[in-house]
């Protein structure tokens, strides 16, 4: 289904105006986005919110310089003014844009039930149920906050190469935070369910995430301080994939590579991991959080093998960086909105499933740390140093998961840590996340089965 936000004739005029003062490439990115959100906090429905935005970004690329202007609204005058503002600094001869020709790319995530068509009361019921379930998990549960959000983003892209492409991305997400307290100890548990899908995502038993979040908070009440020092670390499946996203994925984004601000620069074709490790970025996965028919430059989404059997095989490209390396975009030119320039970004990034079961992976560890999920993380791509906060962690003793730990941090260097992965689980799962870079936040999917890292530093409050 194609989206029409702007008349093709007007788009052609804006493109022609954009190239009047020179430039190699011009693009008009039009967007209309609508969102709805609701929250139940302290068992009360709070802050129902709705938003609608519409606007365009005009980009002109000259050599490797991007000139950009964006406006709210899609009125002809505003668009033409944006084209002029973007190119005010250029002073070369005019170029003619090519004739526009529509490209149809089917969405990998067809929507069965438009969430906007569902009565708000049903969304409320869902949150109330989640709230009740979390509260009934134990007397120690003191606070519950449940949130629902839906968003639809329609984009249409025209460029001077003659491309017209469009996409509609509808996302639904349920989140729940549970606070539990006992004897002065306070702990939190958080769980989400989200996808590039319609209301059908929430059929089945979405309230199960309330049980999970509550169980997490309650388990942590008995936690002791995390150990500090070097140890074997087993990372959980699903959201554990955020570790790979941060420590390796960002270093594969071609803008960092080209500035020599990535530890992976100059290592194409080298072994960077053990042969048991293969990893992909795939924006065409049906329904996943980072999926779309096209990226935000109109390039069809696809699966890119970034590491094959331990060998580095591809970086992630948008148009400008692909041009610099004389290659093609891998469909990773993404932007937060029409107010932002596209930059190379991950879509859904994951370590492909291996052979081992989680039990086998843990059974081989006499003494170690089990990081089930992370509160988030940060990596410095240039040095490869990273830090992760563990939101749910346990000790591994004698091949078994034992006591819960609070306040653990994983810290290390990505080249070393990736190379030390010596087991990959078959229990593959994808999770939702939001990734920030260059002041832009985009939805991304992360995933993996259980993964074991032979040695890594755990920073905790237990100083020996």
């Amino acid at each position: 289904m194609s989206v029409e936000l702007l008349d093709a004739e007007l788009a052609s005029r804006v493109l022609a105006r954009s190239l009047e003062r020179g430039g190699d490439f011009a693009e008009v990115f039009c967007e209309s986005r609508e969102g709805f959100a609701l929250q139940v906090d302290e068992s009360r429905v709070e802050s129902p919110q709705r938003g609608a935005e519409r606007g365009a970004g005009v980009r002109v690329v000259s050599g490797e310089v991007s000139y950009f202007a964006h406006v709210d609204g899609l009125a002809e005058d505003d668009l033409l003014r944006a084209a002029e503002a973007a190119t005010a600094a250029l002073a070369a001869g005019a170029r003619e844009p090519r004739q526009l020709k529509a490209v149809e790319v089917a969405s990998p995530s067809p929507i069965e039930i438009d969430p906007a068509s569902v009565e708000p009361e049903r969304k409320l019921e869902l949150l109330r149920e989640a709230d009740q379930r979390a509260r009934s998990a134990g007397d120690a549960v003191t606070q519950v906050s449940a949130s629902y959000s839906e968003g639809s983003r329609r984009v249409q892209i025209f460029n001077s190469d003659g491309l017209v492409a469009s996409d509609e991305r509808t996302r639904v997400r349920l989140g729940i935070q549970v606070v539990a307290a006992r004897d002065g100890v306070v702990e939190t548990g958080f769980e989400t369910l989200g996808a590039t899908q319609g209301w059908e995502l929430l059929s089945g038993d979405p309230g199960r995430i309330a049980d999970q979040a509550a169980a997490k908070a309650l388990a942590l009440l008995d936690a002791g301080p995390a150990p500090a020092g070097e140890t074997v670390v087993v990372v959980g499946g699903g959201f554990g994939g955020v570790l790979f996203h941060e420590m390796t994925g960002h270093g594969l984004e071609s803008d960092a590579v080209q500035k020599d601000a990535s530890v992976y620069a100059g290592r194409m074709g080298e072994m960077v991991a053990q042969p048991l490790l293969t990893a992909y970025d795939d924006g065409s996965m049906p329904g996943e959080w980072g999926s779309g028919a096209i990226d935000d430059e109109g390039t069809p989404s696809r699966r890119t093998a970034v590491i094959e059997e331990g060998r580095l095989t591809s970086f992630l490209y948008d148009r400008v960086r692909a041009g610099h390396d004389g290659t093609e975009s891998t469909g990773n030119g993404r932007r937060e909105s029409f107010r932002h320039l596209p930059v190379p970004r991950m879509t859904n990034t994951y370590i492909a499933p291996g052979d081992a079961t989680p039990e086998e992976i843990i059974a081989d560890v006499p003494d170690g740390f089990y990081a089930v999920s992370f509160g988030g993380g940060q990596v410095e791509p240039a040095s490869g140093d990273f830090v992760f906060g563990v939101s749910e962690g346990y000790l591994i003793e004698g091949g078994k998961v034992t006591k819960p730990c609070r306040g653990a941090t994983l810290i290390g260097n990505c080249l070393q840590a990736l190379n030390r992965i010596d087991a990959v689980g078959s229990d593959f799962e994808m999770k939702t996340g939001f990734c920030g870079k260059s002041g832009q936040t985009v939805p991304v999917g992360t995933g993996q089965g259980h993964v074991r890292i032979a040695g890594m530093t755990v920073g905790g409050t237990a100083v020996s």
């Binding site: 609701l38 906090d41 302290e42 009360r44 429905v45 709070e46 802050s47 129902p48 919110q49 709705r50 938003g51 609608a52 935005e53 519409r54 490797e64 310089v65 991007s66 950009f68 202007a69 964006h70 406006v71 709210d72 609204g73 503002a85 600094a89 606070v179 100890v185 306070v186 939190t188 995390a226 500090a228 020092g229 500035k259 020599d260 601000a261 530890v263 107010r339 320039l341 509160g375 988030g376 993380g377 940060q378 410095e380 240039a382 040095s383 140093d385 830090v387 992760f388 939101s391 306040g407 941090t409 810290i411 260097n413 530093t457 755990v458 920073g459 905790g460 409050t461 100083v463 020996s464």
Partner: protein, 457 residues
């Protein structure tokens, strides 16, 4: 300035209030803003991107009795505004009643804060700010031969105006403000030992930034980390660089916002009036300092901004309130209802957090520490600080302190502890403070902390 003049913006806000009320809202509040923004990114002496943009939008909060709804949008046509007003009223119908909900009391004149907008901002051409960004990059490269390159030098400015109308006010309020910042990330060394350093500056216009100082700071920081190793785990005194102190101050400020307190999500809940911090720490929320980028005549609900002492004499003196949290506990609003933009309803937030400087230079703080760590950077704060419990464990880098002097660089270690205990263990504050855009808008000197847990080898 951007397309909508002050009169247009105020008129749009007024029409949206009427639209909500005629759709059944008992009260309504409208925040309208229009902005003009520029961003320059420079790399290797060349412009990488140059962005020039205009934007506008309005956010409508509507009440039906004690129920609240919110809608925002960018369509300022008559029909667009009518739909927004009606939408907000309809959403209020979905919410549960909350007896404390309702519009702010319109009493009290807006505060007078001079210099929120520096006209220089529109006097500087795109070419001039491009030159500024290039000068930032050169500053980093000139600082030391070991600086290999600069990942990016970035300059951003915003020139904007806002209008606020509510059903309880006869006339809309409004103001103009400008802000800008520049930063760069310098890289030093080669593949097997590559380190990065950050330099930044903030102000009301490019005229207030010194590009060379920003660049040199980034270069010096990157070079200072070359040859670093992992320190041994220990518990020791620590000097927190101003940037690190600002990040922690931001978390403390967030935990002093009354919504966190009332919902039991703050380590400071139930501790008002208690002696919990070191007497060396004087912490104020200052919404009136013209150099603080969060200063304004009024907050996101129209309550006049003001100065609120938070910690003094070791004692916790106040929580920060908006209209809702103040009504909930019979307190007065402190002018701390803030919005990140028209896209969000106001919520309680710090304005500018100011830590009062003590006496003495950084060298004197280091000498006082005698043996320990000088922490120059922290990472993973978002995941590593638990704002509910106050516990933290974050990645860090810096220099060792030996014999009262800075010694070799260290990295890849963690610092861990508890926010409230951290406040109690502050031994002295440095004599020089500056504005730092981390953890909100914070002005702080470096701090000497008596004891901190270091996790390394």
């Amino acid at each position: 300035m951007s397309g909508e003049g002050p009169a247009d913006l105020a008129a749009a806000a007024g029409r949206a209030v009427e639209a909500a009320v005629s759709a059944g809202a008992s009260d309504a509040e409208v925040w309208a803003e229009s902005t003009r923004e520029r961003e320059v990114r420079v790399h290797a002496g060349e412009v990488e991107s140059l962005t020039q943009a205009t934007g506008h939008g309005i956010g409508v909060r509507a009440w039906i009795g004690a129920r609240t709804g919110y809608a925002y949008g960018t369509d300022l046509s008559d029909e667009g505004i009518r739909q927004l007003g009606a939408g907000a009223a309809e959403l209020a119908g979905l919410a549960d009643e909350d007896e404390h909900a309702g519009p702010a009391d319109p009493g009290g004149d807006p505060a007078t804060v001079e210099g929120l907008r520096d006209p220089e901002i529109s006097a500087w051409s795109a070419e001039r700010v491009v030159e500024l960004a290039k000068a930032v990059e050169r500053g980093a490269l000139d600082e030391d031969d070991r600086v290999s390159s600069v990942e990016q030098a970035v300059y951003v400015d915003v020139d904007g105006r806002v209008a606020l109308a509510t059903s309880l006010r006869d006339e809309p309020l409004g103001y103009e403000a400008s802000s800008c910042y520049a930063y760069t990330q310098a890289m030093a060394g080669a593949a097997d030992d590559r380190q990065t350093g950050l330099g930044f500056g903030v102000g009301r216009s490019p005229a207030s930034l010194d590009p060379e100082v920003i660049g040199r700071e980034a270069g010096a920081e990157a070079v200072s980390m070359l040859g670093s190793s992992k320190p041994a785990s220990r518990s020791c005194p620590a000097v927190l660089a101003d940037t690190v102190a600002a990040s922690f101050a931001g978390f403390v400020g967030g935990a002093l916002c009354a919504d966190s307190i009332q919902r039991g999500r703050s380590p400071f809940a139930g501790r008002l009036g208690q002696e919990l911090a070191s007497t060396a720490l004087v912490l104020t929320d200052d919404g009136l300092d013209p150099d603080g980028l969060s200063s304004a005549p009024f907050d996101g609900e129209g309550t006049p901004c003001r100065r609120t002492p938070l910690i003094e004499g070791g004692r916790l003196l106040a929580y920060l309130h908006d209209t809702y949290t103040a009504r909930r506990e019979g307190a007065s609003p402190t002018g701390n209802a803030f919005r990140s933009s028209y896209r969000s309803a106001p919520s309680v937030s710090t304005s500018n957090l100011v830590v009062k400087p003590g006496a003495g230079t950084l060298e004197e703080l280091v000498a006082e520490a005698e043996a320990g760590v000088f922490v120059t950077d922290v990472a993973g704060l978002h995941s590593g600080v638990n704002p509910v419990t106050g516990q933290f464990s974050v990645g860090a880098s810096g220099r060792l302190i030996k014999g009262g002097e800075l010694a070799e660089p260290v990295r890849e270690f963690t610092i861990a502890g508890d926010l409230v205990e951290l406040l109690a263990s502050i031994r002295s504050c440095g004599g020089h403070s500056r504005w730092i855009p981390f953890g909100g808008s914070v002005k702080t000197p470096p701090l000497l902390v008596a004891e901190l847990a270091i996790g390394g080898t």
